[in-house]
Amino acid sequence: MAVSTRSSFQLKTSFLPCTILQLNRYDLSVLENEIRKTISQAPMFFAGAPVVIDLEKVQDLEGIDFLEMKRLLISNGLVPIGVRGGSETQTKAAGNAALPLLNLSKTTTVVENKKPVEEPEAQVSSTTRFINTPIRSGMQIYAKDGDLIVAAQVSPGAELMADGNIHIYGALRGRAMAGVKGNTEARIFCQTLDAELVSIAGYYLTKEEIQKLPEQNSMIQIYLENDQVTIKPI
């Protein structure tokens, strides 16, 4: 058996992609909730992702419990590897929790609360997809690069997606996602709103959060206002 004469390891320099968790506020229970929500949108993307905690915006804060924060991140499938941008005391406290100071360049992915994972540039509508048969449960319709017009009802369990706006001349009982490539100007219009989920550019409301509107004859529009999905009769 040939025994290798080379040493058992090599030291190399490498730059690995890594996610920065920028803290805007320090409230562990809120943080945990929001992280859970963000991860549920793209579980595969975040599974086992190395995370650096950015303390720049909470530099003045004292008494951050890094051990608890670390446990929280790990229990959500993330791998905290260090901190950056903190004050001296914060860095020291983090070091005690085995989170070393890392000085990484600042051009990495920013994971901020409630923001969609990826933010590609907004698309301009150019083509329109038109459908005049009912969209049944289990059907999925996508209008690429444009608007989607449905002149029929959308059943529970059906899914509409458009890079532009979605217009439904009928009842919306399924899901509708407008501006799926990040167009925050996209809107959804429908005659009756009983949707399972509505979303504009990744911001969404589930059925539970959609407020019941009183019966009326006008159309309903759904749009984004201050990063909040807003529902109003026209």
Binding site: T133, P134, I135, R136, S137, G138, M139, Q153, S155, P156, G157, A158, A171, R173
Partner: protein, 276 residues
């Protein structure tokens, strides 16, 4: 050219086989040569409902595999000579059916029959998709209950996309809604979806409303499809459905709660006695 009708639902236990049997007998009794095929390979039931289980020799799969001719496998109905039954195989599974094989059988049946009723299995897998693939009409059987309505809705989506007609861009399948196990009393109480609720979601033409009835179970167990029970409300409702399918304008019955007068109450008492 024969009309091919698929009886489908998505959900199991809503009355597909009961409906297939009753529709087939209904067409035959009005003078049309009719064949009814059991597509539920592995869970053969239609022969029991039609009361011909003791005469099954060859089945649908034997015909597709060319182990028997179609005429050897077809069973003449004991009530009506214009009706034939092609039973399913109990020992195989749904993979035994092929698109080409089913197509050949249907084409051969089309030469001699006016109506071909395809009794679809539950679910949305291969068996159900093959049952609907060649159809001209679809009777969607639905119970007034949320899960059944949702499954029927899913089925309607498949009917408009996964059939030969849709693939060839021909006129779409004609869809008919058949609401079964309807109980106006429970609708009034709010336990059951109303006809209007179901219509609002599915939004297809209504072929019939079959009331919840003791007669259906009795008919299944005795192997005489409920449409032959002229006394029963369910049997009459199936007759109405046949008339509507053939283009007659028949008012809907059994959809309102009956205001029971003393005479009716007496009858109901007697009915209970009879079934007890």
């Amino acid at each position: 050219m024969a009309k091919i009708i698929v009886v489908t639902s998505g959900k199991g236990g809503v009355g597909k086989t009961t409906t297939s049997a009753s529709l087939a007998i209904g067409f035959a009794n009005r003078g049309f040569k009719t064949a009814v095929i059991d597509f539920d390979i592995g869970l053969r039931n239609l022969d029991l409902i039609m009361g011909c289980e003791r005469r099954v020799v060859y089945d649908f799969v034997n015909v597709i595999r060319k182990e028997a001719t179609l005429n050897q496998a077809l069973i003449k109905d004991k009530h009506n000579k214009d009706l034939s039954i092609l039973p399913a195989s109990q020992t195989r599974d749904k993979d035994a059916l092929t698109t080409e094989g089913v197509g050949e059988v249907l084409e051969e049946l089309s030469k001699t029959f006016d109506y071909i009723v395809c009794d679809s299995p539950a679910g949305i897998e291969r068996g159900a998709q093959l049952a609907m693939y060649y159809a001209d009409h679809a009777v969607v059987v639905t119970n007034p209950e949320v899960s059944s309505v949702r499954d029927s809705d899913r089925m309607l989506g498949l009917l408009s996309s996964k059939t030969k007609r849709s693939e060839e861009g021909r006129d779409p399948i004609k869809e008919h809604l058949l609401l079964t196990r309807y109980c106006p009393k429970r609708v009034t109480r709010g336990d059951m979806l109303s006809l209007a609720d179901v219509n609002e979601i599915l939004a297809i033409p209504l072929l019939g409303v079959i009331p919840e009835s003791q007669a259906v179970l009795r008919a299944s167990n005795s192997g005489t499809p409920v449409i032959l029970d002229q006394e029963s409300d369910a049997g009459q409702a199936y007759q109405d459905a046949i008339s509507r399918f053939l283009g007659e304008d028949v008012p809907f019955r059994f959809i309102e709660e009956e205001k029971a007068n003393w005479l009716k109450r007496m009858f109901r008492f007697k009915e209970k006695e009879a079934t007890a």
